[in-house]
């Protein structure tokens, strides 16, 4: 009540409005226009997300401190964490829990932020209310998507960076976290940002098409689960598979090629003189080593052929995958703007 009774009731109401603006502006930074409306409408969701992110960051920073203290205590890396697995398990569990939480972000935000973002307005008729004001609905759509994207980018970039920082001391330990697993791949670098933006924008589009909040949330959930499955099955094909071959036979102790540390081995097979590949179970039915050697010779096996992805490709793979997701996101945004011109009421 007070802000309105304080407003001077002059004949020129514009003056009154200006006064209100200046007095509020001196008090604190002030959102205006469409930004104010969108922030006000979704402030509960935005503050929840920002608050949860701050708490998560604080917890991760604390956990990292604990882990580093432990590692210093045992003299890591001089002493590997493998030797003290008992003691390290707690820190690893904490990291896994954080990773699980980070992996849930795209689906959570897609369902609870993306799907209702416009579906709610279409269902309650408030889209009509906004359309009846003097600003264009393109501006409304742009502000909604822009502000939501800003919150998502700030939160996911921060969480991704902090988690990466936590992981960095033990990055070389594949037993702690395998870099190709979604625990590491989907929670560091640009992937959380890209996955979350894509999920939220997809949720918005589903909401705009279905125009019902609850249905949009359910359909978005189903869709995003499928997206996660497809994504994790595509991750390995984002890299350039490197094949290393040997010609020192396959029986000897050191015949297997040495791969760079933390390389992810995709496939290994026997290589024959003619360049053909045979499964490594070839001749495994032989009764003795001599028989096996004879059998291998008969098949013409001369060495190993191993396909792998070195960890040095991780960053490139993440950016490649993220750019595909960014492109898809941009496509959905274009659809939203075209659709929105006609149907956004």
């Amino acid at each position: 009540m007070s802000t309105f009774t304080d407003t001077p009731t002059t004949n020129d109401s514009r003056n009154g409005t200006m006064d209100t603006i200046t007095t509020e502006a001196t008090r604190r930074p002030r959102l205006g226009g469409m930004t104010w409306l969108v922030w006000r409408q979704h402030r509960a969701a935005y503050w929840t997300i920002l608050g949860a992110a701050v708490l998560s960051v604080a917890w991760m920073v604390y956990q990292r401190g604990q882990m580093v203290d432990f590692l210093d205590g045992i003299g890591y890396p001089g002493t590997g964490v493998d030797n003290t697995n008992e003691g390290f398990a707690d820190y690893q569990n904490a990291m896994m829990a954080a990773s699980t939480g980070l992996q849930a972000i795209p689906i959570l935000l897609g369902v609870f932020l993306g799907a209702p973002l416009l579906a709610g307005d279409l269902e309650n008729g408030t889209a009509k209310l906004v359309a009846a004001q003097s600003m264009s609905r393109t501006r409304w759509l742009a502000t909604k998507l822009g502000l939501t994207a800003l919150v998502i980018v700030v939160v996911t970039v921060t969480l991704s960076a902090v988690f990466d920082w936590w992981w960095s001391p033990v990055k070389s330990e594949i037993t702690v976290m395998d870099w190709t697993s979604s625990s590491a791949f989907d929670t560091t670098g640009p992937v959380p940002v890209a996955l979350t933006l894509f999920s939220v924008v997809a949720g918005v589009a589903i909401g705009v098409v279905l125009r019902r909040t609850l249905m949009a949330m359910v359909v978005t959930f189903g869709f995003l689960v499928v997206v996660e499955i497809v994504w994790s099955s595509c991750v390995l094909s984002l890299g350039n598979i490197i094949t290393v071959t040997t010609n020192k036979g396959v029986m000897a102790e050191n015949s297997f090629p040495s791969l760079p540390g933390n390389a992810y081995q995709l496939d290994d097979s026997y290589l024959t003189a003619s360049g053909d590949l045979l499964g490594w179970s070839t001749c495994s039915g032989s009764a003795s080593d001599q028989a096996r050697e004879l059998c291998l010779k008969k098949e013409g096996v001369v060495g190993w052929s191993v396909d792998y992805l070195p960890m040095s490709q991780m960053n490139g793979m993440q950016w490649f995958g993220a750019s595909i997701l960014f492109a898809l996101t941009a496509g959905i945004v274009v659809f939203l703007f075209f659709w929105g011109r006609k149907r956004l009421v």
């Binding site: 209100t20 205006g32 409306l37 008729g125 408030t126 009509k128 906004v130 264009s136």
Partner: protein, 316 residues
């Protein structure tokens, strides 16, 4: 009177406006003109296309046929968006906003916002500014929605069944507010309703849509003056032959009496009582007889622009 209105700026002109859904036509071949400064009642049975017509004018829907112009501009243009305010039937408001925040919404999104006018409408109903919208009664909510529409200082106010869910006292009070505001500013109002009693003493202009087309449009005074209500003793079936050369809108019989609403083409002579119809009788007659010949008075006719008639010419 009507000659003066010809030259005045039309607030709204519809040219062969049509809306076709997969299920069928919601509005068909609707052409009329609303001069600026009028309070116009938009009347029709349920499903006649009133909401569709207002939604097209408010740029909420895109027509499939024909076009509409507001002060000479297409709906959705910056200019018409600024000069027009729309109050949808369900009176959508953000439920978690307070009244003050709802008015702030109007202030933030409209360059010509009149905070004082909006606050006065709210204050006149003793609606607390700090109350959340979802705690308000239907009448209070409608009042806030009206305040939001008026605060925009529109030149054309489109109201879809503004009072449909209010009790008679609140309805009367709000209608008073509405008319006083409109009269003070010279706002043109296009208001749909199916409560005919709401229109008497409120509207000075009428548009009746039924069966998808415009049945009646024009000045209330002019429409009333060209119709006559004839009452007399029934002679056999149907209309007395002596009335045959007048344009018949509707004839009804009860017992030995008949009542007919006609548009006299000359002096009405015969053993009948003639009377001027009231607005409700006039509207009911047109609503009950969709096959009656339509009447669109000259002030309500759209002219020129090369696209006035026919639905085909206006796809562009």
């Amino acid at each position: 009177m009507s000659d003066g209105m010809y030259t005045g700026e039309p607030a709204l002109e519809a040219y062969g406006l049509g809306m076709r859904y997969r299920r069928g036509w919601a509005l068909r071949d609707c052409s009329f003109r609303l001069p600026a400064g009028r309070i116009c009642g938009l009347v029709g049975p349920n499903g006649a296309g009133k909401t569709t017509l207002l939604s097209i004018a408010a740029h909420v829907l895109e027509p499939t046929h024909g076009s509409i112009s507001l002060f000479g501009e297409a709906p959705g243009s910056v200019e018409s968006g600024r000069r027009t305010a729309f109050l949808a039937q369900e009176k959508p408001l953000f439920k978690r906003f307070t009244v003050a925040e709802t008015l702030r919404l109007g202030r933030e999104l409209n360059p010509g916002w009149d905070q004082r006018a909006a606050e006065e409408i709210v204050r006149a109903g003793n609606v607390p500014f700090e109350a959340k919208i979802n705690t308000l009664s239907g009448g209070q909510r409608t009042r806030v929605a009206i305040a939001l529409a008026f605060g925009k200082r529109p030149e054309l106010l489109l109201l879809d069944e503004p009072m449909s869910d209010l009790d008679p006292v609140v309805r009367h009070e709000l209608m008073g507010t509405l008319l006083a505001e409109a009269a003070e500013r010279g706002t043109t109002v296009l208001m749909s309703t199916h409560v005919l009693a709401e229109l008497e003493n409120v509207c000075d202009y009428l548009v009746v849509v039924s069966g998808g087309g415009v049945r009646l449009a024009g000045d209330v005074d002019e429409l009333m003056s060209v119709h006559t209500l004839v009452t007399g003793a029934k002679e056999g079936e149907g209309m007395p032959a002596a009335l045959g050369h007048h344009t018949l809108v509707e004839a009804r019989t009860s017992g030995r009496q008949f009542t007919a609403l006609i548009r006299p083409e000359g002096p009405v002579t015969g053993p009948w009582e003639t009377d001027a119809p009231n607005m409700e009788e006039l509207l009911l007659a047109y609503l009950r007889s969709p096959e009656a010949p339509p009447l669109i008075t000259p002030t309500a006719q759209v002219q020129g622009h090369g696209q006035a008639h026919g639905a085909g010419a206006v796809a562009a």
